[in-house]
Amino acid sequence: MNSALPLSPAPPTVFVVDDDEQVRRALDRLLRSAGLAVRVFHSAPAFLEQAADQPGCLILDMKMPKVSGLDLQAILADHGLHMPVIFLTGHSDVPATVRAMKGGAIDFLTKRFRAKDLLAAVHAAL
C-alpha cells in the first residue's frame, strides 16, 4: 500500500510480531486476504525500531526468544504507546494469559486459531 499523499492519514495497519517465519508468512497472507494492511516483524526490537508509534494494532506471539510478547507489551505501556494487542500463544498458559489481559490485551488466541476469530479480534482492535 502506498501512503504517499501527505495530507491523508496513514491507514491503520496490522503489525505482526512472531519469530516463526512460516507463521509470519501465513498471518501476513491471511490478513492481506481480508484486505488489511500488514507489516510483519521477526522480533520485538525490530518492531520497536520501525513501527511502534504508528497507528494500528499488534498481533503478538507471546513466546519469543530474548524479548517476549509480554515484555513488548510492557515496553509499549512504559512509553505511553497504547497500541491494541492481540496475543497468540501455543500453550494455554494461564498465568501468562492473566498477565497479558491485565496488561490491556484486546484478545488472546491459542495457536491454531480460525481465521474468523483472528479477523474478529483485529477488527475489534482497529
Binding site: 516463526d20 507463521v23 501465513a26 497472507r29 501455543g90 491454531r112 480460525r114
Partner: protein, 812 residues
C-alpha cells in the same frame, strides 16, 4: 820593650800594651820571660838574650808571647843593646812586630801543599781558561802522566769519550756559575786504560769574586766501579737464578696441585663407586632372604636408599600392567608430590617403547628429550618430572617394569659414572620383581586352595565318562534338597531337577563337557522338591590319570541364588529406573513438541483459510493461492519432521553403537528443546568445536544425556532473572582420544553439599524430581567408556562435562 841585663822590664810601650793586654804598671820590674814566653821557646830566647848581653848584637828572632787572656801572639823581634859609658851592656832593646797573621797563613799553605803533595787524592788545578797549572804526584801515579806532560795542557787530554757533550756542557755551566760540581768521570790513562774517578771541582775566586782557578780533587773509584759492576752482575745473576728457581718451583707446585687434584678426584670417584657398590651389596643382601610379606617393605627401603644415594627426590618401582605403568612401590622426599600410582602407557608412548626394548632413559631436563618424545615431554611436565633416570627391568629379554628416579624441583645432571653403575641395580631389582610376582602368584594359589576347601562345603561330584556318579558330597542335600544316595542311585537326577527354562542350556553344556573335556562353568536354576528355585554356579573340570586318560568330570556346585537374585534385582531396578527416567524425559519432550507442532499446524490452517479467501475474491488471486499452498506443504513437512524426532526418541533403538556426529546431535537436541527453553526465557548458544571427530555411541542414550543436562541447566536458572538465563553447550577435543561436551548455565551453581551426592540415585533438589537423571546419565556415559562430572563455573553457574571416546577410524 826594654829590659835590663837580668831580663827585668824597664820600658813597655803602647804597642806592647796592645799586643799583650797588660798595662806597663802591671809588668814593670817583672822578668820578661817569666811573663810572656811559652816554655818550649824559653831556652831558645834565653840563648839569644845571653848572646845579646855578651855583646853580640843586633839579633833577630821570632817567638810567641802569651797574652793576658792566655792567647798567643807570634812576634818577630829585632834586638839591640844600649851600652853604658864603659861599653858594657846596660839594657836590651827589643823591637817586635806582631806577625801572628802572616805566620798562620804561611804555615797553612805549607801544610796544604804538603798534604796535596803527599795525599792519596789526585789534585788538578787549572786556570780560569782550563789550562792545567798544577797536578800533584798522586795524579801522576793515577794517570801515568808526569806533571810536565800535562802542565799547560787541558784535561781533554785524558777524555775517555764515554760521556756525551751535554755532560761536559752541564759541568761547565755549573762551574762558570761559581758553584761546585761533583760527579763521576770515566777517563783514559796514558796507556789507554780506562779508569773511573769521583771528582769534586771547585772554582777559586779572587777578592773581586772573579774566578781565577779551578781545583779538581779526583778520587780513583775504578775499583769501586768494578765492584759495583761485579755486584750488579752478581745481583742480576742472582735474580735470574731466583726467577728461574721460582718458575721451577711454580711449575713443580702446579704439577703437585694437579696431581693432588687428580688424586682427590680419583679418590672421590673410587669412594663414590665404593659407596655405590656397598649400597648395591647391602640391598642385594637385604633381598637375599625375602620372606613372603616383606617384599614391599624391603623393596621400598632399597628404592629409598638408592634415591638418597642419587640425591633424587622421587623414586618408584613401576610395572607394566596391561596398557598402564603402575607404581608398585614408590617413595618421595618431603614436600615432593608422590609418583601417581597409575599412568596410562599412552601418556608416555616414547618412554614405554624405549624401556620395552631394554633402553634406559636418562635426561637432565625435559627439553633434552628428543623430538619424537613430544607427548612424553608434556606428560612429564604435567607429572612435575624435571629430570629422570628410568632403568628397564628386563627378565629373559622381556621388560616387566622400570626403576624410576626423578628430580621434581628442577633440572639436574646425573653423574654418568653412577648411572653406568646402576646396571647392577637393574638386574637386582628385575630379579626381586620376578620373585615378588611369583610370591604374589603363590599367594593367589593359596587363596584358591582355600577356596577349594570352601568348595568342599559346596556340592561336589565326580561323573564318569559312562555317566555314573563316582562320588557325591553330602552338601548336595543342603543345596538341592535331595540326599547323596538319591543322586548316586539316579545319575540323571540333576538333569531332572534343572528348571525347564534352563534344561536345554544345561543339556548342551553337559554334552560339550564330555565331548571336549576342559574346564567349564555355567549358571543355571534347579527346582527343589519343596518347589523353591535355586541358582547353581556349576564348575566342571576333567579328571585324568598320569597317562592322560580321561576319567570323567569333577564338578563343584555352589548355591548362587542370593547373589544371582541380588544381581537380577539390581539389573531390573536399573532398567526400571532408566525406563522411568526416559518416560519422564519423554513427557517433557511431548509437551515441548506439542507446542512445536502447533506452529506449523497454525501456519497450515491460516494458509488454507487465506487461500480460500483469495480464491473467493474477484478476480481470484491465483498467485497468492499458489504460494499459500506451497507454504502449506512446507509446514506439513516441518510437522512430520517434529513427529519423526519424537518417535525417534521414544523408539528403543537396537542399542547398537554407531559413529555419531556430536555437534549434529546437540543441534537436534537443542531444536527439540527449543520451545522449553524459550518458554523459560533461556538464551542458548552452541559452541561447536570444528572439526570434531565422530564418537562411537548409542545415539538415543547420548541424546538422553544431553537432554537431561540441558533441562537441568534450564531448571537451575529458573530462580535467576530472565535476562541473565544463558545456556552454552560446547564441544571440544580432549586429548588423547575423547570428545568432550560441556553444558554450562548461568544459575546459582552447585551447592558444595549437593555436589557430593548429586550423582547418587534418588538424590534431588527439585520438588518434583525423581533424582534419577544424573545417576542414569553417568551410568550411560560410563558404559560408553566416558566420564561425566560437574563443576562450578568460575564466574557463575554450573558446568557439566562428559567425554566419549572418538572413533578410531577418522571421518572419511
Amino acid at each position: 820593650v826594654v829590659v835590663d841585663t837580668q831580663g827585668r822590664i824597664v820600658r813597655f810601650n803602647q804597642a806592647c800594651e796592645q799586643v799583650s793586654g797588660y798595662r806597663f804598671e802591671e809588668v814593670a820590674g817583672k822578668v820578661c820571660w817569666d811573663l810572656f814566653l811559652v816554655p818550649e821557646e824559653l831556652e831558645m830566647v834565653q840563648g839569644i838574650f845571653a848572646k845579646l848581653v855578651a855583646g853580640e848584637f843586633p839579633t833577630y828572632c821570632e817567638n810567641y808571647w802569651r797574652t793576658r787572656d792566655n792567647g798567643r801572639r807570634r812576634i818577630m823581634w829585632s834586638n839591640t843593646v844600649l851600652l853604658d859609658e864603659n861599653k858594657r851592656v846596660q839594657y836590651v832593646i827589643a823591637t817586635g812586630v806582631d806577625v801572628t797573621q802572616a805566620h798562620t797563613a804561611e804555615s797553612r799553605l805549607r801544610v796544604l801543599t804538603r798534604a796535596m803533595e803527599a795525599g792519596p787524592s789526585s789534585v788538578v788545578i787549572t786556570d780560569a781558561q782550563g789550562t792545567i797549572t798544577y797536578v800533584n804526584p798522586a795524579f801522576a801515579r793515577l794517570t801515568g802522566y808526569a806533571p810536565e806532560e800535562v802542565i799547560q795542557k787541558t784535561p781533554r787530554l785524558w777524555k775517555s769519550g764515554k760521556h756525551p757533550a751535554e755532560f761536559y756542557a752541564a759541568l761547565w755551566q755549573t762551574l762558570v756559575q761559581g758553584r761546585e760540581w761533583r760527579g763521576e768521570f770515566c777517563n783514559k790513562k796514558k796507556n789507554g786504560e780506562l779508569f773511573w774517578v769521583y771528582s769534586t771541582i771547585s772554582p777559586i775566586k779572587d777578592e773581586g769574586g772573579k774566578i781565577t782557578h779551578f781545583v779538581a780533587v779526583v778520587v780513583d773509584i775504578t775499583e769501586r766501579k768494578h765492584y759495583e759492576q761485579a755486584l750488579e752482575q752478581s745481583r742480576q745473576e742472582l735474580e735470574h737464578k731466583v726467577a728461574e728457581r721460582t718458575s721451577d718451583l711454580e711449575t713443580t707446585v702446579q704439577n703437585l696441585l694437579q696431581e693432588v687434584d687428580a688424586r682427590r678426584r680419583v679418590e672421590n670417584e673410587i669412594q663414590h663407586l665404593l659407596q655405590c657398590e656397598r649400597l648395591v651389596t647391602e640391598i642385594s643382601t637385604d633381598f637375599t632372604h625375602l620372606e613372603a610379606g616383606c617384599f614391599e617393605t624391603r623393596v621400598r627401603e632399597g628404592i629409598r636408599r638408592l634415591m638418597v644415594f642419587l640425591k633424587a627426590e622421587r623414586a618408584s618401582l613401576s610395572e607394566f600392567v596391561g596398557q598402564n605403568i603402575c607404581a608398585t612401590v614408590s617413595c618421595h622426599e618431603d614436600g615432593i608430590p608422590p609418583t601417581p600410582p597409575r599412568i596410562p602407557g599412552t601418556e608416555l608412548p616414547w618412554s614405554r617403547a624405549q624401556l620395552r626394548v631394554g633402553k634406559r632413559i636418562v635426561f637432565s631436563k625435559i627439553d633434552d628429550l628428543p623430538g619424537e618424545a613430544a607427548w612424553d615431554r608434556e606428560t612429564y611436565r604435567k607429572l612435575g618430572t624435571q629430570a629422570l633416570i628410568a632403568l628397564p627391568l628386563v627378565v629373559s629379554g622381556k621388560t616387566i617394569g622400570a626403576l624410576v628416579f626423578v628430580n621434581a624441583s628442577g633440572a639436574r645432571n646425573w653423574p654418568a659414572e653412577t648411572v653406568q653403575r646402576l646396571r647392577l641395580v637393574e638386574d637386582l631389582f628385575a630379579g626381586v620383581l620376578m620373585q615378588w610376582r611369583s610370591e604374589k602368584a603363590l599367594t593367589g594359589a593359596e587363596r584358591r586352595y582355600h577356596a577349594v576347601a570352601d568348595f568342599m562345603q559346596d556340592w561336589e561330584y565326580w561323573e564318569s565318562p559312562e555317566g555314573a556318579l563316582l562320588f557325591c558330597s553330602p552338601a548336595c542335600e543342603r543345596i538341592t534338597g535331595c540326599p547323596p544316595q538319591q543322586f548316586l542311585a539316579d545319575p540323571k537326577l540333576l538333569h531332572k531337577i534343572v528348571l525347564q527354562e534352563d534344561a536345554r542350556l544345561w543339556a548342551e553344556f553337559h554334552r560339550e563337557a564330555f565331548a571336549q573335556p576342559q574346564e567349564r562353568s555355567l549358571q543355571f536354576r534347579i527346582r527343589r522338591p519343596d518347589g523353591a528355585i535355586r541358582w547353581i554356579e556349576h564348575h566342571s573340570r576333567p579328571v585324568t590319570d598320569e597317562k592322560g586318560t580321561f576319567l570323567g568330570l569333577r564338578a563343584s556346585n555352589r548355591d548362587h541364588t542370593d547373589v544371582k537374585q541380588a544381581e537380577l534385582e539390581s539389573q531390573r531396578l536399573h532398567e526400571e529406573l532408566a525406563r522411568v527416567a526416559r518416560m519422564t524425559m519423554a513427557d517433557h519432550l511431548a509437551a515441548s513438541l506439542a507446542h512445536e507442532l502447533r506452529q506449523p499446524l497454525a501456519a497450515i490452517l491460516s494458509n488454507a483459510e487465506a487461500a480460500q479467501q483469495f480464491l473467493e475474491s474477484q478476480p481470484p488471486e491465483h498467485q497468492e493461492v499458489r504460494e499459500a499452498l506451497q507454504d502449506i506443504v512446507q509446514n506439513d513437512d516441518r510437522a512430520s519432521q517434529i513427529i519423526r524426532r519424537l518417535r525417534g526418541f521414544y523408539r528403543r533403538a537396537s542399542q547398537e553403537r554407531a559413529p555419531l556426529d556430536l555437534n549434529k546431535l546437540i543441534d537436534e537436541t537443542l531444536s527439540l528443546l527449543r520451545s522449553e527453553l524459550i518458554l523459560c526465557q533461556v538464551s542458548w548458544q552452541h559452541n561447536a568445536s570444528s572439526p570434531l571427530p565422530l564418537v562411537f555411541g548409542d545415539r538415543v542414550e547420548i541424546q538422553q544425556v544431553l537432554m537431561n543436562l540441558i533441562l537441568n541447566a534450564r531448571d537451575a536458572m529458573l530462580s535467576s532473572p530472565p535476562d541473565t538465563r544463558y545456556l552454552v553447550v560446547g564441544t571440544a577435543l580432549q586429548r588423547p582420544n575423547h570428545a568432550r561436551v560441556s553444558v554450562s548455565d548461568s544459575g546459582t551453581g552447585i551447592d558444595p553439599a549437593t555436589a557430593e551426592h548429586m550423582f547418587e540415585p534418588f538424590f534431588t533438589t527439585k520438588e518434583s524430581g525423581m533424582g534419577m537423571g544424573l545417576p542414569i546419565c553417568r551410568s550411560i556415559i560410563e558404559a560408553h567408556d566416558g566420564r561425566l562430572w560437574a563443576a562450578n563455573h568460575p564466574n557463575r553457574g554450573a558446568i557439566f562435562h562428559f567425554t566419549i571416546p572418538v572413533c578410531k577410524v577418522s571421518n572419511p
